[in-house]
């Protein structure tokens, strides 16, 4: 597994360089000036500037030192935010979201289904999204491993993979696994069935891990006769969960199930990164904060199923005030195009500050994805993933004018056709 990730990264670096040279858009020095810079971490800078070097933010402030030859983008007094991060998406997977043939499929790699040409990537980009976590669906108690993408529409497949992003796996709970397998008269058809299936898989993974640990010990001790156990991709993935090498993202609605998942994580010694949907988080926000579990939730969706009946639009702010990291996510090809409006609802429902609301679609989802040291705010050293808005972004009216990823403009609303710079129609 580790080997696999390393190989991918190498490919990404090589191909980026090659692409840059041949197409003539290697990273230039860029200065964006005359913007209201919403940094997310250290307030707003009115009439601020950003200096971008090699795709990274090299300086930010009222004035920045930049070389004379730098390309200047005049933001015309408009708002500038970090790129939006969608921490729960299923776009660009065609119909390959759920391997719903078994409730335990941790060895499914979403990257293998990733369709980098999907127009949904472009439409989200035009809405200011620069990074997405593409997750397995919720049919299975333990689904597949996610892929993290940057919305560089028009770039190659490998260029769109977020380099060195940590691994995430999707767990689920509640109605969906129940319905999928219950409707086939299979296990699980109840919530106790759900958790039994999950526990059984984790127990098997413990055994598998022990076998490999003992083999590795023998090798270390110089035992040349030791024969390796048979590799099993499914159990290997789960062993990595138990070893803390994969972040656990759990689709979950009811608060009682959240407590059960927390107990299960303690039983097996792994950490839960985030509860997704988490519409009842407000009922157990203290416990979530105590266990450092974030939520990726909807702004105001409710009532579409029984387990969404107690959803309230104050969930985000109430959980936030108890110390939970809150992200607003889309889970939708539609809503991912206007997550800024969804975040603005946190201002309305419960009085989040502008910065708190903005954090829900930038830095907090970046933490959930595990890339908060690289994206999610306008800070020196971070990737220059930026959005220039034509109006106030936390409103019905703000629309992205330009979207930059790694310092390159990938979307420019003023351009004819699709407004893309790297993708040409008909190609």
């Amino acid at each position: 597994m580790l080997h696999y990730v390393w190989l991918t990264t190498t490919l990404v670096l090589v191909s980026t360089a090659a692409f840059g040279q041949s197409e003539g858009f290697a990273h230039h020095d860029i200065v964006i000036k005359n913007a209201i810079v919403m940094t997310v971490t250290h307030g707003n800078i009115t009439n601020g500037s950003i200096y971008i070097k090699d795709g990274k933010i090299a300086a930010v402030g009222e004035t920045v030192n930049a070389p004379v030859g730098a390309t200047v983008i005049d933001a015309g007094g408009r708002y500038l935010t970090p790129g939006i991060i969608d921490s729960h998406s299923h776009i660009a997977l065609d119909d390959d979201v759920n391997e719903a043939t078994s409730p335990i499929t941790p060895h499914m790699m979403m990257k293998d289904a990733f369709n980098y040409q999907d127009k949904a990537i472009y439409r989200a980009l035009a809405g200011g999204v620069t990074t997405s976590l593409l997750l397995h669906g919720s049919a299975n108690m333990i689904g597949g491993q996610a892929v993290v993408i940057k919305h560089k529409y028009g770039a190659t497949r490998d260029e769109m993979l977020f380099p060195n992003a940590p691994r995430s796996i999707k767990f689920a709970s509640g109605e969906n696994p129940k319905r999928v397998y219950g409707s086939r008269d299979q296990l699980p058809s109840t919530r106790m069935g759900n958790f039994a299936v999950q526990r059984q898989a984790l127990v098997e993974a413990q055994d598998y891990m022990r076998e490999w640990d003992s083999y590795n010990d023998k090798i270390k001790r110089g035992d040349k006769d030791a024969s390796p156990p048979k590799r099993d991709l499914k159990l290997e993935a789960l062993a990595d969960v138990l070893r803390g090498k994969i972040m656990v993202q759990i689709h979950i609605y009811r608060s009682d199930e959240m407590l059960t998942e927390i107990a299960m994580a303690k039983e097996f010694g792994y950490k839960i990164r985030a509860f997704h949907h988490a519409l009842e988080a407000y009922k157990v926000a203290d416990q979530l904060a105590e266990n450092n579990i974030a939520i990726a939730t909807f702004a105001d969706w409710w009532g579409y199923k029984q387990e969404a009946w107690d959803a309230i639009p104050w969930n985000a702010t109430m959980s936030m005030r108890k110390g939970v990291r809150v992200a607003i996510k889309s889970d939708s090809e539609d809503y991912t195009r206007r997550l800024n409006q969804e975040a603005a609802k946190a201002i309305r429902y419960g009085g989040a500050t502008e910065e708190e609301a903005l954090k829900m679609i930038t830095l907090n989802p970046a933490w959930i994805v595990g890339v908060d040291d690289r994206v999610g705010s306008i800070d020196v050293g971070k990737d220059a993933d930026l959005v220039i808005w034509n109006g106030y972004p936390l409103s019905s009216y703000g629309v992205p004018e330009k979207v930059l990823i790694d310092g390159d403009v990938y979307f420019d609303r003023s351009l004819p056709g699709l407004g893309t710079t790297h993708y040409k129609e008909g190609e």
Binding site: Y122, K283, D300, W301, Y304, M318, Q341, G351, E425
Partner: protein, 464 residues
Amino acid sequence: MTRLNNPVWSGHSLRQAQGRLCPLLLTLILALTFSTQALAQEKPIALRGGKLLTVTHGVIENGVIVMQGGKISAVGAASSVNVPSGAQVIDVTGMTIYPGLIDSETQLGLTEISAEDMTNDLVELSDEIMPHMHTAEAFHAESALIPVARMNGITNAVVAPDSGDTLPGQDSFIQLFGSNATEMLLIRDSAMPLNFTGDQRRNKGGFGARKFPSTRMGLAAQLRQAFLDAQDYRTKWAEYERKKADAAQNKDKEKDKEKDKKSEPLPPKRDLKLEALLPYLEGKKTVVLAAEGPSDLQTAVSLANEFKLKFVLNHISHAQPVLDYVASLKVPVIVGPIYEAPKEDERYDAVYSLPAQLYKRGVKIVFASYSAHNVRNLPDQAGFATAFGLPYEEALKAITLNAAEVWGVAEQLGSLDVGKTANVVVANGDPLDVKTDVKQVFIAGREVPMTDRQVRLRDEYSKK
């Protein structure tokens, strides 16, 4: 002057309001219980000091609006309006006041929990031709979804069956507050959807299809036959009425009773389906013609014209290539939702900008949430359309006056004008902005309790 004794209304944040919620919640619950008994507005209410968005005669800063007997009795600048003695005067300084919003297609009262079938009465899929389904007869006035919607200023809505059939039944026009379904159903059978989007096909064409109609030609033939049958049915009844009248005349003339009995005509067998189509065939009521792309749109329109139906258009989310044709029809359009995904080769804003494109061509547009749980978000869509070129005043009209006109209730609803029903919203800002908080809603001059299932859950868990 008084201020309403409501923590949400008086602008306290959730946090500040905590600790006081318990007694207040009780008051609100009691208020709800009592107000369901009281049908009429008890005493005049005057809102003073707000910014009035009248829709018909501009914006009045520092205005006064008076509600009396369930109707608006005065609107104007604070200096020019006389507040009747005995009126409850509420200071709304800093607030924006606008007419109750109208959602032109919802499923309110037809569903509770989408995934739980027993809570759904959305569409009768046993046949495509179901004009005798009356949403009014399924409308669940006590639905928990209705208070959630009206808390955000939606005071009126069209309740339509789901679009699974070409003729799924008849709409109702409702008011979102009242003591029972009868009071809330302002108009039964207000209009009839005719859906022609391809989604109505049964097992979708091809050699494997087993059920008619599986193609668009099947859908169209079936519709045409239904309207022809209705024409026949009308003729038969007209003939019967004529014969009956003749017989009555003959009866007067002739005295022979034996002969009289023989000439008494028999009435045709009643057919509820065909009967339901008659007001639409006669142009007395509006057909809501739904199509998405240019081809379906033109097929549907020619079908409607063939039978001289009076219609408005619905959706047309992918009709961008034929907008001049749309304008030439001179009918209003329920547009979108603008959140509909563009076609593969279209620019990202092809549907976002559709309202502006239609408006430019002189088409009257209205918006709909096409939803039940998300009706409260109706104004967001209007606001978002302005970001893509729709003038602000038109966006507001599209969820107020235009909608009232389309549904034939402009005499009563859609603007802050004297004589209209006092459906009035008080909010802390721009009605079309997603972060604006509605502080109080009045429906027919009654102060709507600003609580719902979600507020109660919020307050319950805020205490913990």
